[in-house]
């Protein structure tokens, strides 16, 4: 006699008056494979946890972004934001598709050079540039985006000493009608500081002012904020022309497009609420084209899009270690991937899914990482089916910032695997081992 399939006993309290959020379908989504390769197989080969990157998704996303802008504006240039994910394999794919490099430290600058990026195709942002860093940038003819007056005067001094010209732009902060205003970076538009900086630079013999830059923030859900920013930069662009009879070359609107992740506390999922590339492109292009700038003098539009280009391409595969009940009866689950690997879990309600159809009965659960630390919570509240230990799970949309902001803590950082267009798997960053870590240490003899 064949036996009946067992299903774990479940009792769930009925809470009247609280409808399930968004009336979401009770059908549980599951992710059996990535680009056609079964999740099980990837984990057998490369262990658990393991980050997986899809080259196909990266290329498709980039192509969508590019098309959205290029069909609306004549001159567009993306610069890959290194800090978002500076694994060589990732940067190489974006460079291969024509992106320049956007870097914020000497380390990132050198990484871009080592990948064969021409120095003149590097935008050097950020408040941290030492005298040595500035020299490096000048030697390579990079575009230096000046953050503050101290940097501007240091740069004047360095160019005099080297007797070399530097190509520069200024970072501008402005009120784009959104909160918070990132006014800690760059020169302010509204109080005239940015205009003063432009005037000072135009007087400096060895500084070639070629662009205006702003980065209004990250995960900006309002396309209109970009239109406001673009118009303000267009005003400065025209003012510079009127006063100095000189056309700047570019306007750089930075990054900040929202990825489809869902912010903590958001009522609707990010897939429903985030503007598309088309909406951002429409807002920005309209603002520039309808500004006072004559068509033949329109600047090149630079974009330093980070998270929106890579988040979707990254997955973290993980294994269930334990199921528990808290003292309040709440279901909790421990998985083998913690917040040390998922910096973005502090921001987002990351999507966690099984690899196969499990029981249709979902129970509100908390998902903990494996760290022996109270803060290690991947999801405080997620409707999840019952799973046994050893069950494989997929965390999606983790391509941005996790593989750069991760922390080596308590255990090794795992393999990062990339699936190429021919569905071949490659390790693009090896799992750490004891040697990786101890090789940097020195233990004084006593």
């Amino acid at each position: 006699m064949t036996k009946i399939t067992y299903e774990k006993p479940v009792i769930s309290k009925i809470t009247a008056g609280i409808p399930s959020k968004f009336g979401l379908p009770t059908r549980q989504k599951f992710i059996p494979d990535i680009d056609g390769i079964p999740v099980e197989m990837i984990m057998e080969e490369y262990g658990s946890p393991v980050f997986v990157l899809s080259e196909k998704t990266m290329r498709n996303t980039f192509a969508q972004a590019k098309q959205a802008f290029e069909t609306r504006y004549p001159k567009v240039q993306f610069a890959w934001s290194y800090k978002t994910n500076y694994l060589d394999a990732v940067c190489s794919i974006f460079h291969d598709q024509g992106a320049w490099a956007e870097v914020v430290s000497a380390f990132e600058f050198q990484k871009a050079l080592s990948l064969g990026v021409n120095g003149s195709n590097i935008l050097f942002n950020g408040p941290e540039k030492s005298e040595e860093d500035l020299k490096l940038a000048i030697e390579h003819n990079a575009c230096i985006h000046i953050d503050h007056f101290d940097e501007l005067y240091l740069l004047i001094k360095v160019t005099r000493e080297l007797d070399k010209k530097a190509r520069v732009a200024i970072r501008i902060n402005l009120d784009a009608g959104i909160y918070p205003i990132w006014d800690r970076f760059g020169f302010n538009y509204e109080n005239g500081e940015a205009w003063n900086a432009i005037n000072r630079i135009m007087l400096a013999e060895k500084l070639d002012l070629i662009g205006l830059h702003t980065h209004i923030g990250t995960y900006i859900m309002s396309a209109n904020a970009y239109a406001v920013a673009a118009s303000k930069l267009a005003n400065l662009y025209m003012a510079t022309h009127r006063k100095f009879d000189y056309w700047l070359k570019y306007i750089d609107l930075g990054g900040g497009f929202a990825s489809k992740n869902t912010l903590k506390g958001a009522y609707m999922p990010g897939t429903e609420t985030c503007p598309s590339f088309d909406e951002y492109a429409e807002a920005i292009s309209n603002a520039l084209i309808s500004s006072e700038i004559p068509h033949e003098n329109l600047p090149v539009l630079f974009l330093e899009t980070g998270r929106a280009l890579i988040d979707d391409a990254g997955y973290l595969l993980t294994t269930v270690l334990a199921n528990k009940r808290s003292t309040t009866g709440r279901r909790t689950m421990v998985i083998d991937a913690g917040v040390n690997l998922l910096f973005t879990s502090f921001w987002y309600n990351l999507g966690v899914y099984p690899t196969r159809q499990l029981s249709s009965h979902l129970e509100e659960s908390t998902i903990y990482g494996p760290l022996c630390m109270n803060i290690d919570v991947i999801r405080d509240a997620i409707n999840f089916p019952q799973v046994k230990t050893g069950e494989k799970l997929v965390i999606e949309r983790v391509g941005a910032y996790n593989m750069t902001q991760w922390m080596q803590f308590i255990t090794f950082r795992p393999n990062v695997v990339m699936i190429d267009l021919e569905r071949k798997m490659h390790i693009v960053r090896k799992k750490e081992n004891l040697d990786t870590l101890t090789s940097l240490e020195q233990n004084p003899k006593r």
């Binding site: 067992y6 299903e7 774990k8 006993p9 479940v10 009792i11 769930s12 009925i14 309040t328």
Partner: protein
């Protein structure tokens, strides 16, 4: 383990606790276990029947059963002995 008198269980898995006013849903297997608990069968007896009928090993079932019992206590559906009695 005894289900309290305040509990009403319907055949479609709806549970009502008239003392606390709480109501609950049971999945089919949980309902079957409740019926067995109501009938005051012992754990060993229940386990034997379950193993006979379902595709499950004894340890997995034991783990699930006691987790389920802990929830029944938590929701005051079965009587809770003094947990510090260490009987």
């Amino acid at each position: 383990m005894k289900i309290t008198e305040d509990i009403k269980i319907s055949d479609n898995g709806f549970v009502f606790n008239s003392r606390t006013g709480d109501s609950f849903n049971l999945n089919p297997f949980a309902l079957e276990l409740m019926k067995n608990i109501e009938a005051e069968k012992s754990f060993d007896q229940i386990k034997a029947e379950v193993m006979e009928k379902y595709d499950i090993d004894d340890l997995s079932f034991e783990k699930d059963f006691y987790e389920f019992c802990a929830l029944l206590k938590h929701h005051q559906i079965v009587l809770q002995d003094n947990p510090l009695d260490f009987k």
